[in-house]
Assembly symmetry: C2
Homo-oligomer: 128 residues x 2
DNA sequence: GGGTTGATTAGATATCTGTCAATATTGACG
DNA sequence: CGTCAATATTGACAGATATCTAATCAACCC
């Protein structure tokens, strides 16, 4: 449903310091940033992304928190729905990994230096 | 109290995909990301940062929104308290500009590519 | 099949957030 | 000093969010 093609005007991945974000694009970005706006989720994402192999199952990471399992699950779901995390069930366990293109997209938007068009790759949303 | 020196281990600006964020560091980052987690604030920041001269007064940008003036003021305050925006009064007007080092810091944390130590500059918190 | 372990969903609740109207503050200008 | 214009602060309130416990679902093992 949110599968629409982004405008080819370059507004997509242009740093926000370059030109004003459109209302639409700001909405999508805000959803991702909001997902990162919680210490637990940030650590969760980091634990998953930095885990050997680039992926981790819930049991691997939930020990790092003083929270109930459902709470962890809830935060993982938020990250997943924001497109920052993907997951797959393998037998009893569910494995999570970070979505690099989502991170790259956010990174490109925040870029403060006047990097010319270096991050045009980040526009490719390979999630289709 | 959150004024402590960050560990010199490189954990500060190391991308979160490299190693797990510490609890402390995640807290600080989350405060910034949370500030970005609202479409209005994202656009506000972008409008300020992309404004000619890199700064804008409130009256320049508040017309872009269908919100009351106090609401705009509130969002600007959130961005300011998160360290993403700075401001200065000049006569009747208050001018805002983006804090590049804050953006760079966030960008460095999100970096997904295995860039070696390119963003060590971002560690310099020149906000003193 | 029945039990065990891992993970998600549901329901409840206290807290946080975004918004507005009203009011206060700050500085400019007669 | 009084008034006006631009911002900020306060107080109130509806809606969202984080967290928990209890219940449910999924897959493995005996």
């Amino acid at each position: 449903m949110s599968n629409q093609v982004l405008p080819a005007t370059g507004a997509c991945c242009s740093p926000l310091v370059r030109e004003p974000l459109t209302e639409d694009w700001a909405g999508g970005l805000a959803r991702m940033f909001k997902a990162l706006g919680d210490p637990v989720r940030l650590r969760l994402l980091s634990l998953v992304a930095s885990h050997p192999g680039g992926e981790a199952c819930v049991c691997d990471i939930s020990e790092s928190f003083d929270l109930s399992q459902p709470t962890i699950s809830h935060h993982l779901k938020v990250l997943r729905e924001a497109g920052l995390l993907d997951c797959e069930r393998r037998g009893t366990w569910v494995y999570y990994w970070a979505n690099p293109s989502a991170l790259q997209q956010l990174c490109a938007v925040l870029r403060a230096e006047p990097g010319p068009a270096v991050q045009s790759e980040a526009c490719a949303e390979g999630s289709s």
